[in-house]
Structure formats: C-alpha cells, structure tokens
C-alpha cells in the first residue's frame, strides 16, 4: 500500500486568538504533518520529517500592506511562511534549546494583534445580527426552512460572539499583566 503524502483535515477553532490552533499544528508537525495550505474551513498538510516545530499566526486583516517586505522580514528572523487565509498568516520555526521563539515579543504588539482580530470578526457578527433581525422583522414566509436558517444563523452568531468575548478577556488579561506577553516564555 502506498503511504499517503498529503492529508486534508476539517477543523473549526473557537479560540480566535489562534493559540489552540498553534498548539494543534505543532502537535501535527511532531507526527510529521506540515501545514501546506488552508482552503476555507480546511487545513491541508504534507508529510515530512517529524520534528519539534513552533507555529505562530499573525492576523493582518484586509488592510493593504507590502506582502513581499512583510514575508521577507519573517524569513530573515528565521520563520518559514506556511500558508495564509483570509488575512491570517501562518509561520513556523524549529524549536531550539533556547527560549520559545515568538513573532510578537511585547505586550503592546500582542494587544494590537488581538484588536485586529476583533475588528475582523466584529464585522461578521454585525452582518449576522443584521441578518437575524431582518429575518425576524420582514415578512418572510415562516416555515420549517425559515426556522432552520434562523437557528443556524443564530448558532453561528453565538459561536462568533463567544469567540470574540474570549479575545476581549485575553486583551484584559494582557493589559493587567496576568499573561506573559510571550506565552511561550515560561
């Protein structure tokens, strides 16, 4: 039997700060699966040498920026660009014996990252809430279909809202100094 060299995984994370995702990707690298691309809602991996890799995710949003310079800076700093999707940039680097490598090394830049995430997601939540209120007020034919769409939209809005709250509380903890600005430096 021929061994698989790529695999595609469906997975949704409600931790929008990206930390759970980073840990999951590192775990997969330890088993020899390396993130290659991110088709919407999926993660595609390619097989490689299992190793101790650290993943970090930056969120740039939809603002215009010099992508070549940006990726070049990460490369110079020893980070390999893995994939990007919807304004999110995934990087990895080999975990050495020193302190945990980080792409954000102070409190202010970590807070700024979380604020960018909230701005990006906030727009989705607003759109969903408008959609829900539209469904409730307009004269839509109220049948089973209407109910299913309404419930699904509400579930997504609630999940996003919950994720947003978690990012907010992360910002609060960063401001109060309850989390180390570089979470890996412990």
């Amino acid at each position: 039997m021929k061994e698989r060299t790529t695999r595609t995984v469906f997975r949704v994370f409600l931790d929008f700060s990206g930390q759970e995702e980073e840990r999951w990707l590192s775990e997969l690298a330890r088993r020899g699966w390396f993130l290659k691309s991110i088709p919407v809602l999926f993660y595609r991996f390619k097989k490689g040498q299992p190793g101790d890799w650290v993943y970090r995710i930056d969120y740039r949003g939809s603002t215009k920026f010099d992508r070549k310079e940006y990726l070049g800076l990460f490369k110079d700093a020893g980070w390999e660009f893995a994939a990007s999707s919807a304004g999110r940039y995934f990087f990895r680097t080999q975990r050495g014996s020193g302190p945990m490598p980080e792409i954000f090394t102070d409190k202010d830049s970590r807070i700024a990252l979380h604020k960018r995430i909230i701005t990006g997601l906030g727009l989705f939540v607003v759109i969903l809430i408008l959609e829900i209120s539209n469904m409730l007020t307009n004269r839509f034919p109220r049948g089973a279909f209407w109910l299913i769409v309404l419930l699904m939209t509400s579930a997504i809005a609630l999940a996003l809202g919950y994720g947003l709250l978690r990012v907010y509380s992360q910002i609060r903890r960063l401001k109060k100094g309850q989390v180390s600005p570089a979470p890996g430096n412990k």
Partner: protein, 117 residues
C-alpha cells in the same frame, strides 16, 4: 520649547521596542538590520520578533517618525530601508532626556536609602 519638540513630546513615553527601533535608525537601516542591531546593543537582552517589528514600523511610518530612505541595496528590493525624520529624531532625543532624568532620580534615591541593586 520649539514647535517640533512640542509635537514630539506628544509621543512620549515610548515602548521599549519603539525606543530600540528609533535608536537603531539613527543611521538608515532595513528591518533585518534593526533586529540584529537591537539584539547586539542590548547584548541579547531584547529580542524583537518580526510581528512586533513590522507593526511598529507601520505605526512609526504612519506617525511620521520614520520614512523610507531610498534603497541602500538596490539588488535587494524586499528589504526596505528606513531612516528617522526630523520629528523622529526629536522624539528620540526627548525620550532619551526623559529616561536619563528618571534614571538619575531613581539612582539617587536608592543610594540615599541604602537601596541595593
């Protein structure tokens, strides 16, 4: 206080990362050079991650404290070179003065009250 200093004082205090970046840009330099310079002048104590550095450079450009300073290495187009503006230099000078006077006050009072390092 000159008008420039007046404007510059509005940017104080600086974060440690911003201070180190401005210090590094006393001579025009690209992002990678800033990272290396910060590690070397702080004797490895301060490490500037690429995400933190990129965000800071973007902000400093927007605030007019730094500017694109031509291409020192034209063959290397992905490494953009930055330098301090007049305003940026004034901010750096004011912050250095402020930190210096804080340092002197702290040192004196620790000495007077038998503070140990």
């Amino acid at each position: 206080m000159s008008k420039l200093d007046d404007k510059a004082s509005g940017f104080l205090p600086l974060t440690e990362a911003t201070y180190f970046i401005l210090v590094s840009l006393v001579e025009p330099c690209h992002g990678y050079g800033i990272m290396q310079n910060v590690a070397s002048i702080s004797r490895g104590a301060v490490k500037l991650g690429p995400g933190t550095l990129y965000g800071a450079l973007t902000n400093l450009l927007k605030q007019g404290l730094i500017e694109r300073a031509g291409e020192l290495e034209p063959e290397d187009e992905r490494r953009k070179v930055y330098g301090l503006t007049k305003l940026g230099r004034s901010v750096l000078a004011l912050e250095t003065e402020r930190l210096g006077s804080l340092f002197r006050i702290g040192e004196e009072s620790l000495k007077r009250h038998g503070g140990k390092k």
